[in-house]
């Protein structure tokens, strides 16, 4: 009899487990981001900041590297590492590109807040890395001189 009861209880626990995992799946879907189309369409830095809601404050906790002089603006390697705890987003902006916002990376838990990629830079200007951590925005910038434009023209 007591065995039955134990079996019955463990069944209940298993069912609860299924229910919880079943519930958490749509919750995770809900937590997914929406592509910031307005920010991608903005044509200047002020427009991007308006679209994302605020202007970031400068932070020394962001390690942002890009070449000082890029011979080919079509392929400019950039690397962003954020030492700000709770970093969830890393964005890369190129000030004088037709659309400054180039890329937004969403950092999952357990992924290091560090990405490297290559971007196009149309002309000599500042590159910005914008970090979102705990709902606040931080940025770092670097100037990259371009000797050949990134638009192939």
């Amino acid at each position: 009899m007591s065995l039955d009861r134990r079996n019955f209880l463990s069944l209940g626990v298993a069912a609860l487990g299924t229910l919880v995992s079943g519930l958490s799946f749509p919750l995770r879907l809900l937590a997914q981001h929406v592509r910031p189309d307005a920010a991608f369409a903005a044509t200047d830095m002020a427009g991007v900041y308006a679209a994302i809601g605020s202007t970031p404050e400068t932070s020394a906790e962001i390690v942002f590297t890009s070449p000082e002089i890029a011979e080919n603006g079509a392929v400019v390697p950039v690397s962003v590492t954020s030492n700000i705890p709770g970093t969830t987003k890393i964005s890369i902006l190129v000030e004088k590109n037709p659309n400054p916002l180039t890329a937004v990376f969403y950092i999952a838990e357990g992924t290091q807040a560090s990405v490297q990629t290559r971007v196009k830079v149309a002309q000599t200007c500042n590159l910005y890395a914008v970090i979102e951590a705990n709902g606040k925005l931080f940025s770092a910038s670097r100037e990259t001189k371009v000797t050949l434009g990134g638009c192939g023209g």
């Binding site: 997914q32 981001h33 592509r35 910031p36 991608f40 079509a74 392929v75 400019v76 390697p77 190129v94 590109n97 037709p98 659309n99 916002l101 180039t102 890329a103 937004v104 990376f105 969403y106 950092i107 999952a108 357990g110 992924t111 290091q112 560090s114 990405v115 490297q116 990629t117 290559r118 971007v119 196009k120 830079v121 990134g150 638009c151 192939g152 023209g153």
Partner: protein
């Protein structure tokens, strides 16, 4: 169709470093071809990287990411036999997924 991505995942001190080289023209829509006609915009909009079934990195991209995009990132964990997969979707609705096994 799009050529395969080159993905390299290396385990380093308990974390996994992933390097991806995608094959994509990444046209900005502002370049003109030899006849002077605008080359239509064609770029990757979204990238999703997974470790087994867990999403470790997502990205929204504009057209200013370089042609044949390169991406490097690191996530904690990873064991031999795990898979790392990367998916991209572009503005023309094309998509591609490639994966590698960790060794």
């Amino acid at each position: 169709m799009a050529s395969p991505m080159r993905i390299r995942a290396t385990m380093i001190n308990g974390s996994t470093e992933v390097k991806v080289l995608m094959s994509h023209p990444m046209e900005t829509g502002q370049r003109k071809d030899s006849s002077g006609a605008l080359v239509p915009v064609h770029h990757i909009k979204e990238v999703i990287a997974k470790h087994n079934d867990k999403v470790v990195l997502q990205a929204d991209w504009g057209a200013a990411v370089s042609q044949n995009p390169f991406l490097q990132f690191t996530f904690n964990g990873g064991a031999a036999g795990d898979t790392v997969s990367v998916t991209w979707n572009d503005n023309k609705g094309e998509t591609r997924t490639d994966q590698v096994a960790l060794r």
